[in-house]
């Protein structure tokens, strides 16, 4: 019996992934625990171990193949004593989904693909189609009836118009309603179209490009956390929703003629950033509040702390102190520790801080949970570990999902002040500039002090100006009188 290797769900919400790289090739013997491949989700790259033993008989997707559904077969192992090699060569040719070539930031995928393609005509329809074939094929070979007919599996692609995964009752109802099942999204196991899907499709006007676009929104609202002590805020980087929708700038504008260029395919991370931040700027009414904050006391405290922590090897950074201050400011002004959620406002009883970390090709926001109540030394060591693993793309989804507010610090680059884009669905983000010697008025006299500018971006739907101002002032007080953070 060949053993099917399927795309694993690396997080509870993951629906699709990109096969970043195969680490085995056809004919390789594999035993339990061997690393088969690297899978890239929207923000992290993870290694996939084999749980079975055998010989790699077929690799059904190529390096870089994107948008592979969880559960889709990506490879086959032949078991003990089975001729692995015989079916190998046939597996390689044409039908393999090739990595979309450079010119194709093709946003569509899976179930939404056809609808989205209609809504947002893409210049790279061809690529989308070939991947559609691949997806159908992956599904097809998983069908017992199909494999039974063609043993040993040859890997040949199914003819166009291959089997639609639908229940007999759904087929009959669709036929009665004169409904094409190809356009129906299945809600059953493995995307199977069931009675309820046909009923829903029959009840809604077709074709529904607008509805298709609205669907993910609906499911977002639906999946919003139920209110609890600290509702896990909507996973910020929810693969399920990210991949179900096109990047917002899906319509490619032509490049200026004659300029030498190279088109680079968007990574999942870039696509997510593009989509989420466009959504944020376009739909969240931002307002901004800036304060100047004197840093001398905080720098002194940091220096004292680090002296006393010398033996432990832990070094507290200015940013670690600011994370703590942000957490405390949110607990002191709880009306700022909120999230707009349509008909409701989530008020968090704990401040989890998403910290923007630049990584190759993008940025990611690992979360320091309960920053207000965490010791500085703990924040420092957690941040060090998270930042290091973030740069290697090794964060686990739960380490970068969530957070009740964000902080972004560009001070290290000498930036004096900037306005950050809110990280949805959060209510605020704090943009921190460089601490620098500036003329500063103390007791009506100008002195030279180390001063930084911090700007809060607020979601006006959730936080009003006065609350934002109270929050900024609380933050300023904490940073200027940092001993309060140790209490």
């Amino acid at each position: 019996m060949p053993i099917d290797i399927t795309m694993p769900a690396l997080s509870p919400t993951m629906e699709t992934g990109t096969l970043a790289k195969w680490l085995v090739k056809v004919g390789d013997p594999v035993k339990s625990g061997d690393i088969l491949c690297e899978i890239e989700t929207d923000k992290a790259t993870m290694e996939v171990e084999s749980i079975d033993e055998g010989t790699v008989a077929e690799l059904l997707v190529t390096d870089g193949a994107a948008d592979i559904k969880v559960g889709a077969i990506i490879a086959r192992l032949s078991g003990e004593g089975e001729a692995a090699a015989s079916s190998l060569e046939t597996a390689a040719p044409a039908p393999l989904p090739t990595q979309p070539a450079a010119e194709s930031p093709s946003p569509q995928r899976g179930e939404g693909a056809e609808k989205n393609a209609a809504a947002a005509p893409s210049p790279t329809r061809g690529e989308g189609d070939s991947r559609g074939d691949a997806a159908r094929r992956a599904k097809g070979v998983g069908n017992p009836a199909d494999t039974a007919a063609a043993a040993p599996p040859t890997g040949a692609s199914l003819p166009p118009g291959a089997r639609v995964n639908a229940s007999p009752l759904a087929r009959r109802l669709a036929a009665a309603a004169n409904l094409d099942l190809a356009g129906v999204t299945g809600s059953g196991p493995h995307g199977r179209i069931v009675k309820a899907d046909v009923a829903a499709a029959a009840a809604s006007p077709r074709p529904p490009p607008a509805e298709a676009a609205a669907e993910p929104e609906a499911s977002t609202a639906h999946a919003a956390p139920a209110p609890r002590d600290v509702p896990p805020p909507r996973p910020v980087h929810d693969a399920a929703h990210d991949d179900a929708r096109p990047a917002p700038a899906a319509v490619a504008l032509s490049a200026p003629a004659g300029v030498p260029m190279e088109a680079v395919k968007l990574s999942n991370i870039r696509r997510t950033i593009a989509r989420r931040l466009t959504e944020s700027k376009a739909t969240v009414p931002h307002f901004y509040l800036t304060v100047d904050i004197r840093l001398d006391a905080l720098l002194q405290l940091r220096s004292d702390l680090n002296k006393s922590l010398e033996a432990t090897g832990i070094k507290v950074s200015v940013n670690d102190l600011l994370i703590k201050a942000l957490g405390l400011a949110l607990t002191r002004v709880p009306d700022a520790n909120v999230q707009f959620a349509g008909a409701e406002l989530y008020k968090f009883a704990r401040a989890d801080i998403s910290v923007a970390v630049a990584i190759p090709g993008g940025l990611i926001t690992p979360v320091i949970t309960d920053a207000a109540n965490k010791r500085l030394s703990v924040i420092a060591s957690e941040m060090k570990d998270l930042a290091a693993r973030a740069k290697d793309g090794k964060l686990k989804p739960e380490e970068y999902q969530g957070g009740t507010a964000s902080i972004s610090n560009l001070g290290i680059f000498g930036i004096k002040q900037f306005d950050a884009v809110i990280n949805p669905p959060q209510g605020l983000i704090l943009a921190v500039g460089a601490g620098e010697p500036r003329p500063y008025v103390v007791d009506n006299a100008i002195v030279v002090a180390t001063v930084m500018s911090a700007t809060g971006s607020f979601d006006h739907r959730a936080i009003d100006g006065a609350v934002g101002a109270q929050f900024m002032s609380a933050f300023k007080r904490l940073v200027e009188n940092p001993l309060g953070m140790l209490a």
């Binding site: 509870p12 919400t13 229940s167 007999p168 009752l169 009665a176 809600s187 009675k195 002590d229 509702p231």
Partner: protein, 464 residues
């Protein structure tokens, strides 16, 4: 000092312990609290030990009718204490099995009386000691208990609930069973087969009132033939225990009242959720008509607090509780389980004859406005049934005429509780009559009747 968990479950019945295992599989740190025995009522005092008893009465019945099979068995008799002992041993074995499963899945078992002190905190009291469990999420799975007769609580002497009836101190000679649901009918069947004169009283017009009317009628006919007295549309009043038995007055719909004395009475008039003293009131958990109100994934109105099984309402079945438990746990884990619906939960009664069903009764389907195709196939038309000497019973299927959807299936006869699952799978997969007709059924089996019933609904039955 409190201990921290991802999930704490109050009650270790088939809802709670299955939820615990699923949660452990999903990587949660789980605690489960039980005040009595792991496995809850189901496998200690319900489903399983009664099946052990009913196996005994079934074999006893066959021994008494051994000559029908060409066998001679003389001096057939029984030892009640040994029958009960076997039933308890079976329960004990399963209880130990659940213990093993908890250990295997690294689930912390906390024995004692648990109560919610906060939405996400359970305080467990065992004697003088208390243990405090903190959990991100808590599932209430405290189950239910038998409803008492108003004014006459079961005393365990002559007035029994299922729990007493399972460990009888003496064999009833003349037994009154109040209530003809699955529990009432199973005990009536057991004691009748063991030789008691049994009367069953049902308030509604049919016994097994949740079943299809044809099934109920056939059951009534068969049980009456076995010697049971069935009184439907009747009420029992003035239940008075005395030294020689229990006097009870049965009043029928026409107003006729008759008082008789019975050696024992079994009260099987429904169940009551176990919702008292577990802290629900202080937390403001919404309880409606004795049931915890939950969403389709089992969440209560209180954040982090979930409820599954009997406490959330009908059907009061172990497999419903288990399924709800899995849905709730997967929802907690952030998976996307399908919302819990009761449309495809099979129900089984393990009496002689057995009854099994899933989906809509014919009457319910008509009431819902369906045009129907109804198939019936009798055991007498099935070779295997005749060979088994079990030629009584039938299989009924109810299809929507327009779509071929299998709306319901209803069976009465030998081993039907093992057959029903075929139809449950068919319904879950949304098969129509066409796939069922095209399916090959092994010969000779009782399951061929399932095929024939479908064929019959479309006028194509072969053997009848």
């Amino acid at each position: 000092m409190s201990e921290a968990f991802d999930l704490a479950i109050l009650g270790s019945g088939p809802g709670g312990y299955v939820a615990a295992i699923r949660a452990s599989q999903l990587g949660m740190k789980v605690a489960i609290v039980e005040r009595e025995r792991l496995g809850g009522i189901c496998l200690n005092w319900g489903c399983i030990p009664t099946k052990a008893l009913l196996r005994t009465s079934e074999i006893y019945h066959y021994m008494q009718h051994a000559d029908a099979y060409g066998l001679s068995v003389a001096n057939v008799s029984f030892d009640l204490s040994k029958i009960v002992e076997r039933s308890r041993k079976v329960a004990g074995q399963l209880n130990a099995g659940v213990k093993g499963l908890m250990k295997k899945n690294n689930i912390t078992v906390v024995e004692g009386l648990g109560a919610l002190t906060e939405a996400t905190q359970i305080t467990v009291t065992t004697g003088d000691t208390t243990r405090v469990l903190e959990a991100t999420n808590v599932i209430i799975a405290t189950g239910a208990r038998a409803r008492d007769l108003p004014g006459t609580p079961a005393d365990g002497q002559r007035i029994w609930t299922y729990r007493h009836a399972m460990v009888p101190p003496a064999m009833p000679t003349k037994l009154l069973v109040i209530g003809s649901g699955a529990i009432g009918i199973e005990f009536a069947s057991f004691y009748s087969d063991m030789g008691a004169k049994v009367t069953v009283v049902e308030m509604l017009d049919l016994i097994l009132p949740v079943e299809d009317a044809e099934i109920s009628a056939h059951m009534a006919k068969t049980l009456t033939k076995q010697g049971m007295i069935l009184v439907t549309g009747a009420k029992v009043a003035d239940v008075m225990p005395g030294p020689d038995g229990v006097a009870a007055t049965i009043t029928t719909a026409d107003g006729q009242a008759k008082t008789e004395t019975y050696s024992h009475v079994i009260v099987a008039i429904g169940i009551v959720s176990n919702l008292e003293n577990i802290g629900l009131e202080t937390l403001g958990v919404v309880v409606e008509r004795g049931r915890v109100k939950v969403d389709p994934w089992g969440m209560t109105n209180v954040a982090g607090l979930w409820a599954i099984g009997d406490v959330t309402g009908a059907p009061w079945l172990a497999h419903k509780a288990s399924h709800e438990g899995i849905v709730a746990v997967e929802k907690i884990a952030g998976l996307e389980p399908h919302p819990f619906k009761i449309w495809n939960i099979p129900g089984c009664t393990y009496s002689r004859p057995q009854v099994a069903s899933v989906g809509m009764t014919e009457a319910a389907a008509r009431e819902a406005g369906h045009d129907l195709k109804v198939g019936r196939f009798p055991f007498i038309g099935n070779g295997k049934a005749i060979a088994l000497g079990e030629a009584d019973g039938f299989v009924k299927t109810v299809f929507d005429a327009a779509t071929g959807q299998l709306l319901g299936a209803h069976m009465i006869g030998a081993e039907v509780t093992e057959l029903i699952q075929g139809y449950v799978i068919a319904r879950q997969l949304e098969t129509t009559e066409a796939e069922l007709m095209e399916t090959v059924f092994a010969h000779p089996t009782l399951s061929e009747m399932m095929h024939e019933s479908v064929l019959g609904a479309y006028g194509r039955a072969v053997h009848f």
